[in-house]
Amino acid sequence: MHADSLVIAGRTFASRLVVGTGKYPSHAVMAEAHRASGADMVTVAVRRVNLSDRSKESLLDYIDRERIFILPNTAGCYTAEDAVRTARLGREVGLSNWVKLEVLGDEQTLFPDNIALLEATRILVREGFIVLPYTNDDPVICRKLEEAGAAAVMPLGAPIGSGLGIQNPNNIRIIKAQARVPVIVDAGVGTASDAAIAMELGADGVLMNTAIALAGDPVAMASAMRLGVEAGRLAYLAGRIPMRPYATPSSPTTGLVTSGAPEQAGA
């Protein structure tokens, strides 16, 4: 299993599950969920310091930075310019040059503006960033992002926070078949089987926030997601049986101690 690590831009991650830090009931629950998830990379947002209320604990106090790599995002940015600016600030806080690049194109769906995303990717790659762009499930834009130097591509499974699961499995499969960088399914997972499905389609990892943070029991769901990702990955590597429309028996069809009805032969 050690050989099956996720490697992005030369950095090795033990877990194929990447989780967020938003919307948890409390920082303490988040920290416990992070432990349960097994994730060694978490996303964070870059926002103005709250100057009027300095009493708030820092998010970073609740992230085990020994074990967990911090991936700043550009969530909430609707232009390449804003995303680039946010990425630069995130780099300065975080002391790493990685960024989960979001350039949104629509408030209702939070779907990416892929044209601006590509532009921002080019700029940030030129500036030495390790860019992980959140994109939609389009193999063509994924290839363009890869060609622009993205370290991974992160197609969405469904709208952020929707919990709908992988809406277009065929596209995820095609993106993986074409990609030469890791494919991380980002957004849309609702429950553990969704995470397993993403991995069974060949994804190299899954990124999620809401499905854990807003679950009835975030810590239990974090465990479930860890198991789901591992289950899907192992099933993908093991090679599943083909689907058949009819049955094939699991037990021998001869040697039965029965009254010798003719139908046994065919069972």
Partner: protein, 66 residues
């Protein structure tokens, strides 16, 4: 003098460095990033970058996100 700090008008006595501004605000410089007139300021330059009348300063940190 007046500066624009995180989008709000803020009154300060006199020009001061980023380092002094952070100290004034009781902000640990290791947990934030600072933009001065839309330019990110490296930590090494906090002592030498001066904030003047009318400048725009942004001080950001990490918060929960996905």
């Amino acid at each position: 003098m007046t500066i624009r700090l995180n989008g709000d008008q803020v009154e300060l006595a006199a020009p001061l460095t980023i380092a002094a501004l952070l100290a004034h605000l009781k902000i640990d410089p290791r947990l934030v990033a600072v933009e001065h007139n839309v330019e990110v300021i490296k930590r090494a330059r906090y002592e030498t970058t001066v904030v003047n009348e009318g400048d725009e300063v942004e001080i950001v940190n990490f918060v929960g996100g996905g």
